[in-house]
């Protein structure tokens, strides 16, 4: 079973990329494979992840361990489960610092204090355990931890899901501020398109483990090319707009075990035609700076079995 297939995007320094899609479309799998963290029953079959000219798929285990957190760190969804319940947060934040930078305890403690203050938590709380924090605070702890080694890239996997609207806004604002201040590159993964509209320069839309459309946020949202993106954009109610029921995409998200033939989206696509069931469209440039995988646009080639490539500069 191929959870993710034909995913390809690139990320510039200091840029924020949004990876959007509905449940089960392979967002988290993509994020985990970027750091080679797939669980024991998953593996990267083929493809390349280029990070500063080095292919992360091919480097040794030791090497990738050095890169993890030092260069690329990750904020998981559900901070309660991502923090170890039996160790205090200070220990957990200090852990990567001590590991990667070989500093002593005092120095690490000091750094932990700075990091906690950076995300708006009193530094005296470093001896507290995760269950003593509220959901929003825990997510802040996660962010502090992610920044512990001054990474180049931060992957934020649904960082605000399951948080209240107001806390969501706080966390997103914090991430945005830190990204600007620390000049981070960020991959923001979310099912909520409206979250990306405000934070990301670039978005990639995924569906059924495939990439549907990639482009600048403003372009994608105002002039979506792929029918799926069109449907998705139309499905969000706008509180500042008209009181009309948003549109929906009929049908259900495809199963990954038994995906539809051809284009994964064709069973739900209102423009689908013969070619869509027979062949799978590849991600190709449809207008300058915009790539989409849809046969509606002339010149979109059929897919040849092709690996996942991710490039980060």
């Amino acid at each position: 079973m191929h959870a993710v297939d034909g995913v390809s995007f690139d990320l510039d320094e200091g840029e924020a990329l949004g990876l959007a899609g509905e449940s089960g479309c392979g967002k988290t799998t993509t994020a985990l494979s970027l750091m080679r963290l797939l669980p024991y029953n998953g593996k990267i079959v083929s493809g390349s992840i280029l990070f500063r000219g080095r292919d992360l798929v091919k480097v040794s285990d030791l090497r990738i361990r050095k890169i993890r957190w030092k260069e690329i760190s990750i904020i998981f969804q559900g901070a309660m489960n991502s923090l170890n319940p039996v160790r205090n947060i200070g220990q957990q934040i200090a852990e990567p610092i001590i590991l990667h930078e070989k500093v002593d305890e005092d120095e690490a403690t000091n750094r932990v204090g700075e990091l906690l203050e950076l995300v708006g938590i009193n530094r005296d709380r470093r001896r507290d355990f995760p269950h003593e924090f509220s959901g929003g605070m825990r997510q802040r702890v996660m962010i502090a931890m992610a920044l512990a080694c001054n990474p180049k890239i931060v992957i934020a996997d649904e960082p605000v899901t399951a948080l209240d609207v107001m806390i969501q806004a706080q966390i997103l604002e914090l991430l945005e501020r830190l990204r600007k201040e620390l000049h981070l590159s960020m991959i923001l993964i979310s099912h909520d398109l409206s979250v990306m509209a405000e934070t990301c320069e670039k978005v990639a839309i995924m569906y059924g483990g495939k990439m549907m459309e990639v482009g600048k946020t403003v372009d994608v949202f105002t002039d979506p090319k792929h029918p799926y993106t069109q449907g998705l954009v139309a499905a969000f109610p706008d509180i500042r707009g008209q009181r009309t029921m948003p549109a929906s995409i009929p049908g259900d998200v495809p199963s990954l075990i038994n995906p539809p033939s051809g284009c994964v989206f064709h069973p739900r696509c209102k423009f689908a035609f013969d070619r869509c069931t027979a062949a799978e469209p590849a991600l190709a440039e449809v207008t300058p700076g915009r790539r989409a995988a849809c046969f509606l646009y002339p010149g979109v080639p059929e897919v040849t079995p092709r690996p996942m490539t991710v490039e980060a500069r």
Partner: protein, 565 residues
């Protein structure tokens, strides 16, 4: 949660909006009696004049108000259960009985054994006395003041058993000599008393709650017959009110087929008995919920359905009883965006088709905006603003509503709005701020919002640690309305008070808590800071159905009759 009061009119969509933990779901569940409301009423189909009477009775001080309110509640309220009250006199009486029984159980047999020789005092006598006393103790230990279902009586009874039994053990150990003239030796008597009475006590603990429960049931049943709807109420209620849960994955029993899930409400409420009738109703509900053809879905299990289909099953189960009123607790928040609208559309269609009324509970203002006829915004268990969707979303009055609306992200990146991000997190429900409960996070809070001495002292301390109040060494909240500041030695209180006044007036706009300061005056070598008085803002009616609870909003002036000379 308290002070929530709203009425939902037939055929409308009423939205309850707020952050998690603000009491939305609790409200919804209280409606359906899934949790017990501690106080207050949920009325169903209450005639308007009865409601008016109820309001009057609550406001007024009529001597028989309580009884008359109870009469209304008995008829229309279903959040209210009748309790058999035990008055203080009875409790005192029972407590006295406990003491008497204790003396009887322990003292009498022993005394008898020691003093009276002969045929009267035999094992049977002692055994009987102990059993009786023990039973009494057990019964008493488990009776009200606490209700028979509560846990306390068990603990009480066990404790009394323990206390009661320790004594004979100690006595038997420390006093092994045989009593003179008694037919038994001491350990024998103690053992008899001990064993028999603890057994009886256990029996009492078990018997008493059952008996009390049965008694209250009988009393209730009699009242039900004479006074109205109470008995049949819940059953009709179940038929007419239904809840759709948020999580379509967890709310369906994985071991039940769709048929069982949808037919269950019919079966348990004994609405349909005939298998064919049940099957027809199930098929109809499924088709109404958009699962067509029904025969394809009836034998599937939840795990064979997609999230959207599961939510449809949930809706079908609600429809099977043909309810009038549906409480929908975040029905789409667990669903993917692309299928969300379908479910919403279905719910709206059903409203047309079956004349349903919805109470829609959500944290998503965007959804409330497109669905609701009327919206109520809740904060920490209280409604802060209420009105039509237009009124609340397009012209919010309460600062909390304004902030909430401002942070709803827009799917259009060209619309960039100024967001008001509130500081901090919602306080604990156990620790609700005084005055307006929103004031600690409110960006526009002012003097009368309810600043407490602790908050002001905290703010002064942070000024002091920022080096602004150099000569002050101690800041103490005196009581709820005064803060006392201690001077460093050799500093004149007058000068310090003047500086403080200046600093406070300079920082009022950046540190809102300082707005709570009413007066600063020196008393001896300390400074007393007195605070503004405050009150909790009431829900002020601005227009029909539109109400806000905020001190900044003033009620519309009474139409002043034109005075003609």
């Amino acid at each position: 949660m308290d002070g929530v009061s709203f009425d939902v009119k037939r055929g409308e969509v009423f939205c309850l909006v707020g952050e998690s933990g603000c009491g939305k779901t609790t409200t919804g569940k209280a409606l359906l009696r899934l949790v017990d409301a501690t106080e207050g009423d949920v009325f169903f189909e209450l005639p308007t004049e009865e409601y008016r009477r109820y309001e009057e009775l609550r406001a007024g001080r009529a001597p028989d108000a309580a009884a008359r309110i109870d009469a209304i509640r008995r008829k229309y309220s279903f959040s209210w259960t009748e309790q058999l009250a035990w008055d203080t006199r009875q409790i005192l009486f029972w407590l006295g009985a406990v003491a008497a029984a204790f003396v009887l159980a322990v003292g009498l047999p022993a005394l008898a054994a020691a003093g009276i020789p002969g045929a009267l005092v035999n094992t049977g006598f002692i055994l009987g006395a102990s059993l009786l006393c023990g039973l009494l103790l057990g019964v008493i230990g488990s009776l009200p003041p606490t209700r028979p279902s509560a846990r306390t009586p068990t603990v009480l009874a066990l404790l009394s058993i323990l206390a009661f039994n320790l004594f004979p053990i100690v006595a038997a150990l420390g006093w092994p000599a045989t009593l003179p003239g008694a037919p038994f030796d001491a350990p024998g008597i103690w053992a008899t008393v001990w064993g028999a009475s603890s057994f009886a006590m256990l029996l009492g603990v078990i018997v008493a709650p059952i008996a009390a429960g049965a008694a209250s049931k009988i009393v209730l049943a009699r009242r039900r017959e004479t006074e109205g709807l109470l008995g049949v109420k819940m059953r009709t209620l179940r038929r007419r009110l239904h809840l759709i849960f948020q999580d379509p994955y967890e709310s369906l029993n994985p071991k039940q087929s769709v048929f069982e899930i949808v037919s269950e409400p019919l079966v348990v409420n004994k609405i349909a008995h005939d298998p064919e009738e049940i099957a027809a109703l199930v098929a109809r509900s499924l088709e109404d919920a958009g699962l067509r053809p029904a025969s394809e879905f009836v034998f599937r299990f939840p795990h064979e359905l997609s999230g959207g289909q599961r939510q449809r099953v949930s809706i079908a189960a609600a429809l099977a009883l043909e309810p009038d009123f549906i409480v929908a607790d975040e029905p789409v928040s667990m669903l993917d965006v692309s299928i969300r609208t379908e479910i919403l559309q279905l719910m709206m269609d059903l409203r047309e088709k079956r004349g349903l009324t919805y109470l829609f509970i959500t944290h998503d203002l965007g959804l409330a905006w497109i669905l609701a006829d009327r919206i109520a915004v809740m904060y920490l268990g209280k409604i802060v603003e209420q009105g039509t969707a237009e009124q609340v979303i397009s012209h919010p009055k309460h600062p909390y509503t304004q902030a909430l609306i401002s942070v709803v992200p827009s799917p259009d990146p060209r619309h960039l709005v100024k967001r008001t991000i509130l500081k901090g997190e919602r306080p604990d429900a156990v620790n609700i701020p005084g005055g307006c409960r929103f004031h600690p996070r409110c960006p526009v809070a002012f003097e009368r919002c309810g600043w407490s001495a602790d908050e002001v002292a905290e703010e002064l301390r942070s000024l002091s640690s920022g080096g602004r109040l150099l000569r002050i060494i101690g800041i103490e909240a005196q009581d709820s309305r005064t803060v006392t500041l201690q001077m460093a030695p050799g500093v004149s209180a007058g000068v310090a008070a003047a500086t403080l006044r200046q600093i406070v007036s300079e920082n009022r706009d950046s540190r809102l808590a300082l707005k709570g300061v009413a007066e600063i005056r020196e008393s001896g070598d300390a400074i007393q800071v007195t605070l503004q008085s405050w009150a909790e803002p009431p829900l002020i009616e601005l227009g029909p159905g539109n109400a806000v609870a905020c001190h900044l909003v003033t009620p519309p002036a009474e139409a002043v009759p034109a005075v003609t000379a």
